[in-house]
Each structure stands twice: as structure tokens, then as C-alpha cells.
Amino acid sequence: MFILWRSWITFTAIIATVLIVLALLSSLQHNALYSDLIRQRLSVVAQTTADSFKSVVNLGLPISMVRNARQILERGQQTDTRITAIYTFNPSGIIVHTTDPNGPKNAPDEVILAQSLAETSEWSVESESELFSGISINNAAGTTVGNIVVVYPKEEFSARTTAVVKHIASITLGLLVIFSSAAFLLLRLRLSGAIHGLARLNSLFDNMRSGNGSNHQPAPMKDEEAVKLGFLRSDIETIEARLQQATEDYESARNRLGITDAEPDFLSPGSEDSDSLSTVMTSVPETSLARLIAGKLMPWAGLLIVGSAVVLGMLTIGTVRNSIEPEISNRTALMGTVINNNIQLAVSAGVPLENLVGAEQYFGSFLLEFPEVAYIGVATGRIILEAGKREDSIYGPSHSSKDLVAYPIKSDGEQIGYIIIDVDSGYIAREFESVLLDLAVVALVAILLAFEVLVVMMSVSLTAPFNRLQHLVTLQATGDFSKRVEASGKHAVDRIGAMLSRRADLLHAAFTRASATILPGDSSEQSRSLEEIEGRFSLSTQRPKLMLFSYLNDIRLPLFLVAAADELPLAFFPLFTRAANNPLSWLDLGVVISLPLAGYLLAIMAGSPYARPLADRFGHRKLILLAAVPIVASHVGLYLSSNVIEIILFRTLSGFGYAIFTLACQDYVLDIVPKDQRTRSLGIYSGVLFAGVFCGAAMGGVLADRLGMDTVFLVSAGLVLISGLLVYRLMPGRRGPLIAADDQAGQATASIWAPLRSHRFSTLVFGIAIPANVLMQAFISYLVALYLNQLGASAADTGRTLMVFFLMIALMGPATARVTDGRFDPALVSILGAIISGVSLLLGAAWGTQLGLFVAVLFAGIGHGMVRGPQVSVAMSIAETDLAHLGSNAVLGSLRTLERGGSIAGLILIALIGSNLGYPVAIGVVGVWCLAGVTAFIGSIALSGGSKTLREKQQS
């Protein structure tokens, strides 16, 4: 039954992961959105009040000198009775006019900070207890002469968000129960065969334990019983057969060593010396049993993950919608009220309605300021004034009965006319679209995370025990008792494994005892007989070697978490740097803000060549754990930091740690995976890395918004700690001769220039690797954001475009690798990928619109995903052929350093081109660079006829 429970726990864990992460993140999204909406509503009041004061500024008077300023502010306050106060403050933060004379004399710090960091004249901020929406008023020269702030209490906001969070939490809980139960039923049905198979193993085990002799063989299975085992049938039968064989060999060894039943089953002391316990790491071709189970369960797991995410997502959208819609209509109503008030003011002052001077101008500027209003009109029976376009659409937001909102205008107590406001339904639809997209991204993040967790749990909890058992029983069936496994579980699979290990231990102990009586040089029959036993049963005087298995999956989740942790702060890092104390005031501010990134890139470049030699020295596990330390330390440092210099230092440190960590993971993959699976595994590696980057990039902004920028650094540190813990627990750590490794370590002092003598390598570096990295650093990290900004895209759209790049690599990398591995030369795959990247960049540069750039980024992502894994594969194969004298360390070190160094140089070059010749030209240059490089690489391959050699080598 254990398989049922194990699987069910695994499935419940991943369902819980998906649901909880999704619930958490979408709650945060909702709160961020709701806060933003309220502040946007308040900005209507702030904006219209500011417009009044702007008229004063346009006259040439300072705002402070308007005698009736307080009345102007109070008029604004009357539009919504819940507004706490409206005030103006001057550039030094002193409150000049206010509707609340008992309020503070100075504007709160967070308000002043938000205003100083704002890039436009409209800004808003949230504090513990209040929401602030502000407008900066600038004079003709563009200097800020004053600011208007509307203050709103947070009680309503807190009440609503708490209600929504509780609602989402209860839905999540409910879904968890439902899906978990469904999983149980599903597993019960699907795994009935497996359950029977394991029951069979259980009975085998009982037999072995009680019998301890070949004369107690269990009866072979009858057919009906065998059929019940379903998909596990042939494997169980094989295990059975091998167990039998192993037991026979064991008995035979026991006899020959003269162990009788009376002999106490103990291990002689002295062979417990832990130093001599050498571990063997094998690259694991998955045993058929493990593969079967994984293959059966994965699709269902995937279905549950996606299914639960979709259901929760849809329910959440409904909840979010219920929050948004009233707010949006509140905002529209407020606009109507404001316009009405101002028209009413004119009418009450004595201006005749038919002669409203400047009304159309006023409406016009209102329409510009608030794009969701499509039309404003004044009517007395017929329309006498209007601005904008009446919407003829019959589709309005479903909640409102009519698209039009009307406000009365009164004179002497009688209604003489009314104001009509028409809302742009397309605008609102686009707002909802934006919410949907954000939720979809959140769902993707949850799904990706859950998938990684699934892989780990499957591996640890389900397939690993089977692997251990199958390997050991296969060995012992051939009479090889030299290995043992650590198996501590309580179910049949582990217990059989433990028993078999114990048998090996006993044999070794007996052998040791027997050998102790033989003096060296003794060539008596006893000695020769012992030698024969030693050879036949692979015994020795030490303990049997512990078999530890290395899987690619060991590093998946840690890598994912670290990549996400590193990427989380990137969304707000420039802002964070700008807000910090800047002792480097003699430098241009733009340069100061880019220094942390520069330090980070330089640290990555500096650390790259050392990853492989350090891995050889310390072992992968230790190195990865060591690399995690500076990453955690630097993020804690960033949390505590207060000035720019500290920020630069810590970011640089984290870059160093990050480089070593990720490269050590890649080295682990390269070392444990057999060559024929290398490209595929590298593809998976890239996929996981970029899945993490995607999730970090997607979530950084909203986490910073709700938790504060500082706390996000702590979250990152926490993620890295968790990943370190996972590495500590899951990764086999002992150093020893690597079975699958077949290349030498090479010199520790890796000269990065030496490998360039091989023209295949140099064209790989300069033609494929460097352009690909330049694409990442210069195009994605730099040009795209700037060009989209120039084309008028919002920050959210820019973020999504960048994320699609990462997503494509995360999806396409492993997919293409899996498809092409073994069938195509990795060199060809990288050529194709580079061509796709280059062409899509040229396309994006030529197309010249937001959509064009989005498509270009998408295909560049696909192309890049196809290049990343195979390029390392090609480098490794070059290291094994042309550059075998230098060794893989030197080759990889050279590749990594040169590609990163080249990308930094490329970034600077492209930045220069971009600011002088324009962004489309710069994008085109990167595209041409990729294509030129690919051509050179093709040329070099054709010259050497190397592709054929490579393919041959691959197939051997």
C-alpha cells in the first residue's frame, strides 16, 4: 500500500503547492490592484484640484499666495465625504494649505519620497493607515512649485482586502480537499496493479526474513495473481527471479565462508571506519520500474496541477472582478461629480448655461487627463455643449444598466440642465484584460513551481527506492556483493533493499574475519580459496561500498529557487538604488543606478572560470552549498543596507555566488549524465533555470508593492536557504571516482585564451555563444525595455514581453533538447536556434511596433532556448576531441568567461549604438551579429568536416 500513500502524499503536496502559491500570489495581486484603483480614484480629485492651482501658477503667482486656497481644497474634499484631508505642500515638504488645520505641519516622509521618485506628475503611495494620491504642479520651466495630496483612510481598503483574502483562502482549502480526494480515488484506480505488486514484494520479504534459506522459496505466482499486477507485472517477476538468484548466491557464499546459522550476525568492529567508506556515484539510467511508475503518474499529476490551478484561477477572477467593478464605477461617478460641481459653480456664479465660456476647453482637457471618459456633454433638452465621441456601442459593462451617467445642473433651486458622461467601454475591457493576464502569469508561476516540486518528490519518495532495490538486486543476482544501499523506509521495497545490504555486510564481515587468519604470502589452499571467494563474490576486507545515486532532478528545485531568488529584486532594483542614500553625488545619477548591475555582471564574469576547478576540488555538493552562502549573505545585506555603496557591494557579491552556484549545477549535470543524454539534460537545465527567472521576474514587482522592497530581499534569502537545504538533503555528497566521468580534471589554472586555437571552438565562442549572450544582455535586458517605452508601452506590457522570453526558453529548451537529442547534432540545433534568433531580431527591428517587438522577443526566446543547451554540448565534445589536451575544465572555463565578457562589451557597444543611431538600428545590429556569427560557425564546421565526426562520436 505504500505506493498508494506515497503517491497520494506527493500529489497532495503538489496540489497544495499550486493552490497555496496561486492563492497567495493572487491575493497579493488583488490587494495591489485594489489599492491602486482607490488611489486612481483619488487622483481624480487631486488632478482636478491641481488643475485649479495650475491656473494660478500660469498667472505667475505662487500657489501659497492664493487667498482662497483653503476653499478650493474644501470643494475637492466635498466630492467624497470619506476623504480625510486635502493639502498642498511645497518642495521642502512643508504643508502650505490644508483642509485639516489640526493635521501635521509637514508632509509624511513616504509622501515626500514617493513624490521625489515619481517620473510623472501623478504619483501615489500607501502607508500603514492611509492612502495618498498626489499631483505635482510644475511651472512653465518644468520645476515643481507645489504638490497636492489627497488623504484617504484605509479602513475600507483593509476590510475589503481581508474579506477577499479570507474568501480566496476558503476556496483554496475547499479545492485542496476536493482535488486531494479526487487524487486519492484516481490513484486507487490506476495503481491497483502496483499495489498488488508491492504486496507481492511484501510477502517475498516476509519469506526471506523468516526463511533465510533457499529451501523456503515462495511459490511462483499464479497467472491470475500475476495479471493483477498490471503494468508492474514483468518488473516484479524479474525482481522475484533476481531475488531468488541473489539468495542462492548469498547462501553459496555463506557456505563457502563457513558461516553457520549459529554465527552471530554482527559486524566486526574496525570495518566501520568511515574514512574508508567510499561512495560511488553513478549516473543513473532509470530503472524500468521507476520509469514506469513515473510515466504512469506524471500525466495525472500534470492534469491535477493544471486543473486545480485553472479552477482556482477562475474562481479568483470572479472575486477580483467583484472588487474591481464597483471601484471603477466609483471613479466614473466621481468624475461626473467633479465636472458637475465645476459647471454648477459657474452657473451659480451667474454665468448663463448657454454661454459657458471655456467649457468645451475644460471638457477637452478633462478627456485628455482621464482617457476612460469618452464623451462629456451638457444638455438642456438638447445638447448645447459637448466634447469627445459618443459611443454607439451596445456593449457596456454588464453591471450598469446604461452607459450614460447624468448629473443635474441647478439654478435657483430648479434644474435647468444636466451633464452626460459616456465611458469608454473599450478602456475598461482593456483594464480587465490586464487583470486576466496578470492572473494568468501568477497561475503559470504556481504551475511551474508545483511541477518542479513534483519532480523532486517523485524522485525522492517514489522512484528512488525502486531504483535502489533494482540496482542492488541486479548486482547481487550476478553474485556481486560489493555494494550496499542506505534504505531506511518501512515498506517492502526499502526493507528488501536493507536486507540485501545487510547480507553484503555480513559477507564482508565474515570475509574479513577469515582473511585475518591468513598471513600475507601464505599460499595455502585456504588462502587460495579465499582469493577465489573474493573474486567470485567481489568481497573485500572493508565494508561494501555505499551506492549513492545522482539524478539530474537533484539540482532542479534548488536551481529553480535560486534563479527565482536572484531575479526577484530586478523589477524594482533601479528604484531601490535611487531611493537610497547616495554618497556618490559627484557621479551622474544614471551611472550610479547602473553600477550595481555592472558589478553583478563583472562578478559573474570573474567567477565563471573558477566554477569547474572548484567543483573538482570540493565536490559539487559542497561547492553548491558554499556558493549559496554569499548569495544569502548578500541578500540579507541588501535588506539591511542603507546607502548606494553597500548596495553595489552586496549586489556584486551576490553575482559571484550566483555564478558559482549555477555553473556548479551545470557541471554536476555534465558530470553525472551519460554523454548520449547530455544535450537533453543541458536543455532541461536551461529550462529550469529560466523557469526560475521567469517566476522571479513575474513576482518581484507585486511582492515589492505589498511587502515592501526590503522584505523581498529577505524572501530571496529564504528561497536560497531552502534550496541549500534541499541540496544538503538530496544531493549525494561524497567525493569519489566518478564512474561516468571520462575526462581528466585538467589544470586548475585555466588559461581562457588557450582553447581558442581550435577554430571550431573560437567560432563557437565568437559566433554562437557571444552573440547569444549579447542577445540576452543587450537586447532583452536593455534595448527591449527602452524601445517599448519609446513606442509608448506601459511598464506592465514591457514586463510581460520580457517574461515571454524567459518562458519560451523554459518551455522550448527542454522540449527541443528532448526531441533532438540523439537524432541531431547539437551543433546543428544551435545553428538553427541562432538563425531563428537573428532573423526574429531583424524582423522586430523592421516591423517597428509593440506587437512586432513582442513577436520578435518570443521567437528570439525560442531560438535562444535552442542554442543554450546544445552550445555547451558542442563545447564539451570539442573538449573531448580537438582540445582533449586541455581538458574540459579549461574549455568550459574559457567558454563561460569569454561569453560573459563578450556580452558585457557587446552591451556597452549596443548601448552606444542605441543612443546614437536609435533603438531599431541597434536591434538590427544584434540580429546581424547573430547571423554573421552563425555563418562563421557553419563555415568552420564545413571546413573541418567536423559535424560528421561529432555525430560519429556521439553514436559511439
Partner: protein, 338 residues
């Protein structure tokens, strides 16, 4: 007969002795003596000043004199201030200030007060009138004051904000007031940089050297004939006093008036003003006085204080009559009166 003569002499002697005695008694009771000279008598600035002095507990006797638009009286006030050993002299208006304190070149001239602190108020252009060097530093050790007018550029912008098509400005001025003359010069200078034309007409002076009210409508007709869009009062106490004739005439000829004196909008028929409250002006002068008498500061070290609250006021009745209504935008900041 002899008894009567003696009685009269005794009476006169008693009277002439008692009067100064009460003064002396009064002087002996109060700590300070503030000597105030007004051009047209004690009005809102005076009231505001008194209010400030009372509120701040400044123990001062206020000796108030009215020049009644007669420059000839000013030298006598100078003498009296000296005789009374006034601690401070407050002057109202350009003419009074120039007559009491003199200009920059009159420093040291015994005709003018050089040793007693002088605080001026309601001086339209003290720099242009050569009373002080600059607003930040008066350049005269015993003189400081207050300013209460917006920069002229603001006035032009105000006209434009109300009437965007504005091209031609009209001004009436009287040469017996120095402030009036230099204000026209200042506006003429602005006309070039701010892209409008100026039509400035002088009001006829009568035989007494003072302008005649009858010439106002005549000039108004001339301004209308010249195609003036808007009239700016400039700086003229005469026009302020004859405000009703001035503004009514403007309305009759269909021309709106921008006045630097709020009173013309609130109480008369001017259309627009962007001005300070005179009461605020008086209070501000009081503040300067406090700095000098109580805080012991030197007038020459005090910058000229500016009133910091101005109001944009529109007379809606005039607007209706002229059929020139303010825009929705302006009405958000303006105060309206009927």
C-alpha cells in the same frame, strides 16, 4: 475791561498749558509713539494696522495725520514727528513717503526724516520711485516697508486668462502722482515683451494742479475709439477715489477694467482684480513695526515684506453688463461678487 483781558489771558494760558500736558501725560503712559501719515485718511490699512498692534500687545500711542491729498502739508508733519519724538513713522502711499522720508538722493537732507525709523505701505513701486534700492535691501538704514501688489506681469496674465484674445491695453494716468507716471512707464516696457499694445492717456490737470473728474469720461470715450480691449488702472489714488465714475464710465463704453485695488471690484464696477486685502497690508506693516520696536531690529536690515495672500476677484454684475463671462477654469480659483 481790564479784568476781562486778564481773564482771557489766563484762559488762553491755561488752555495752552493744559493741552500739551495731556499729551505729555499720554506720552508718559505709553511706551512708544507711532506717527502715521495718510494721504486720504485712515481706512482699511489703518484698521488692519491698529488691529495688529492691539493683538500683539504693542504698547504704543498712534498719532494719526491726514494729508488729504495735499503735498504741502507734509513738511509740517515732518516737524511734528520730530517734535513729538516719535519712535517710528508710518507713511501711506508714494506721495506721502516721498514727502516724509524723501528719495535716495535726499538722504541726510534735514527736510526729511532720516533718523527716525520709517515704515511705508501702499507704495506701488518704491524702487521705481527711488525711495529704496531694492526689496531685499532698502539701502537706507532707517527705511523699510511692505509691498502689496502682484508683479505687473501677473496682471497682464490675468487679463489674458480672462480674455485670451486680448491685444490692446488702455491706461489713464495723472501726472500729479509720481507713482501713476512711473507705473505707465513700467507697463509700456512690458508691452514689448508680453506682446500687447498700450494706449496711455493723461488725465487733464486743473488749475490747482490736480486732475479733474470730468476728464475721465472724455478719456474713456477716446480709449473706446482707440479699440482698447481692457483697461488697467495702473497706480492712481485719484482714480481710486473717483472709482465709481471711472468704472461706470468704462462699463458704459463696454470696456472691462482690471484694478489693483480690490475695492473697485467689490464696491464699484471694475470687472477684475488680483490684489491683496488692504487689511492684510496694514497688518504686515504692523509686523515690520514689531520687528523694529519690540525685537530691536534696524529698519535698514529688514527686507520689504510682501503680502502673501492675493485674491482673484470677479464682479459678476459687471460681467453680465459687459457680456464677458469668466471661463469654467477661472471660476475654480476666483471669488465672485455681485
Amino acid at each position: 475791561m481790564k479784568t476781562l483781558k486778564i481773564a482771557v489771558v489766563v484762559l488762553v494760558l491755561v488752555c495752552s498749558f493744559s493741552w500739551p500736558t495731556t499729551d505729555a501725560r499720554a506720552q508718559a503712559n505709553k511706551e512708544f509713539t507711532i506717527y502715521m501719515v495718510f494721504w486720504r485718511g485712515c481706512e482699511e490699512t489703518c484698521a488692519g494696522f491698529k488691529e495688529y498692534i492691539a493683538e500683539n500687545g504693542i504698547d504704543a500711542e498712534l498719532v494719526i495725520r491726514n494729508a488729504n491729498r495735499d503735498k504741502a502739508k507734509l513738511p509740517t508733519f515732518v516737524e511734528e514727528a520730530r517734535a513729538l519724538k516719535a519712535d517710528l513713522v508710518v507713511t501711506w502711499g508714494t506721495s506721502v513717503t516721498r514727502g516724509i522720508a524723501g528719495t535716495l538722493s535726499d538722504q541726510g537732507d534735514p527736510q526729511f526724516i532720516n533718523d527716525i525709523p520709517v515704515v511705508f505701505m501702499v507704495v506701488a513701486d518704491p524702487v521705481g520711485s527711488k525711495i529704496i534700492v531694492s526689496y531685499e535691501k532698502t539701502g537706507r538704514s532707517n527705511v523699510t516697508g511692505t509691498r502689496n501688489r502682484v508683479p505687473e506681469a501677473v496682471n497682464i496674465n490675468t487679463i489674458r486668462s480672462y480674455f485670451p484674445a486680448f491685444k490692446r491695453l488702455g491706461i489713464l494716468y495723472n501726472t500729479n502722482e509720481y507713482n501713476s507716471v512711473i507705473k505707465v512707464k513700467e507697463i509700456a516696457g512690458l508691452a514689448k515683451t508680453m506682446n500687447f499694445e498700450l494706449v496711455a492717456l493723461e488725465l487733464e490737470l486743473g488749475s490747482d494742479g490736480k486732475p479733474r473728474a470730468e476728464s475721465i469720461p472724455i478719456r474713456m470715450a477716446e480709449l473706446e475709439a482707440a479699440g482698447v480691449d481692457f483697461i488697467y488702472l495702473g497706480s492712481s489714488s485719484f482714480l481710486d477715489v473717483h472709482r465709481d465714475i471711472f468704472t461706470q464710465s468704462a462699463v458704459d463704453h463696454g470696456i472691462p477694467v482690471l484694478s489693483p485695488y480690490e475695492r473697485l471690484v467689490r464696491e464699484s464696477h471694475a470687472l477684475l482684480s488680483i490684489a491683496a486685502r488692504y487689511q492684510d497690508v496694514g497688518r504686515l506693516a504692523g509686523r515690520q513695526v514689531k520687528s523694529i520696536l519690540i525685537d530691536g531690529q534696524n529698519p535698514g536690515d529688514l527686507p520689504v515684506l510682501s503680502v502673501d495672500q492675493y485674491a482673484y476677484v470677479i464682479n459678476m454684475t459687471t460681467a453680465k453688463k459687459l457680456n464677458m463671462f469668466p471661463s469654467v477654469e477661472i471660476l475654480q480659483i476666483a471669488e465672485t461678487v455681485e
